[in-house]
Symmetry: C2
Amino acid sequence: MQIHSRIADLRAALQGRGQSAGKIAFVPTMGNLHEGHISLMREARAHGDTVVASIFVNRLQFGPNEDFDKYPRTFAADCEKLAAAGVDMLFAPTEADLYPEPQEYLVEPPAIQHLLDGEFRPGHFRGVATVVLKLLNIVQPQVALFGKKDYQQLMVIRNMVRQLALPVDIVGGETVRADDGLALSSRNGYLSADERREAVRLSAELRKIRDAIRAGSTDYAGLERAAVAALDGAGWKTDYVAVRQQANLLPPTAPGQALVVLAASRLGTTRLIDNIEV
Amino acid sequence: MQIHSRIADLRAALQGRGQSAGKIAFVPTMGNLHEGHISLMREARAHGDTVVASIFVNRLQFGPNEDFDKYPRTFAADCEKLAAAGVDMLFAPTEADLYPEPQEYLVEPPAIQHLLDGEFRPGHFRGVATVVLKLLNIVQPQVALFGKKDYQQLMVIRNMVRQLALPVDIVGGETVRADDGLALSSRNGYLSADERREAVRLSAELRKIRDAIRAGSTDYAGLERAAVAALDGAGWKTDYVAVRQQANLLPPTAPGQALVVLAASRLGTTRLIDNIEV
């Protein structure tokens, strides 16, 4: 696996492959890779001839009181996992490579950026959209893959790509879960052993809501309230549990809409998110 | 010359050329082409193997009280001029092609968008940056050319391209002028015969300032005031006359900085802009 930190080097390496690079499939990450990421790498292989991954902890998408500084950086282990997964090329820029000057030109997403996670993480989706646009411009893949665990992020990226006419297909990868149902996440590493045991409650509450809706319930507000009560009663601090339309993440307005249940909640100092499509 | 209005058709035509398309040089315009545009087409030929032009009057960069509806549309004549200039392909989308849904993902430029023309045209440079990004994503040229007459626009585009890591070189083309010095502009067509004779004053005042600075004057505010007085005394309504640094369009802060003199003023209902590098 080739590793490049400089934009010009990555571009030269990709151009050097010329036609033999074929279709490029790209998986951007913030590193600290787990099986969720690796499943995206494997799916990328099915979509492309050359698989490019990136590792970059993007300061622009972290709020001032968030965990940018303590976000886990495990570069050597990540490289081993990527190489074992058959990734051809890793782009691992430093901040000086990707932001040699303060980033002043930003992609401004519409109202969706202020919903759900956006309400609790102001500026987060602007930072995500901007760095993803920049990475897509650098790698110029034909396909890019993002996990469904970050459901709102995937929607922002899909919409940005369509609205800005970027020449890339966006593919969403299914959330990978631990045996007990917890969605894999780099932030799970922050959890104590006790918290890790408790963490299963988040996905369990989402499944409860999904099952209730499947069984015919349309009392979305009641289902949401019950889940928040269950979580907060067990010591969580919940930002939101929300039943939303898959199409636009707005509340359901009519029967028959495809729905998704999303949640974000803090266990101790660790903020976890998850979602389940109904 | 091929003409395409649909994004997919243009992309297919460019991809159909494959390797033989070579380097693509792109000149986006709003049509109503004059010799200023055509000089960019000729320069594009020197930079690329395939020259692509676009014609699209971009509603997004017009204010609610501006001249979007009456902006001159002269498609047939434009096509003749482009073909005669050796342009290979014209992209001429309708609004339904380029904005099939309301454009909600926008490129937000930094403070420069509120200076000079941006002060008088709120949202203008956001609209320019967004449509140019979109056109660049569609055409995927190696080189794109923009006229220096829109000096601030050229700077916004250069900075956007650098900051978003777009894989394209931006080339600025020199302003083409009528024999009396008036910068060629589609909006010159709005002028009555009397106004057209008067219009020469704008470039004349800019040259006066340039010459005074060359001769050693550093009283920029005084030079600006004198030009505004001369214009407004002759019936113009001046938005600004400003001596600025070429590097960032901010006021000069130290001797030896490369300067540019920029102006925008209205003659009757026609708003003209011009600039001269010192």
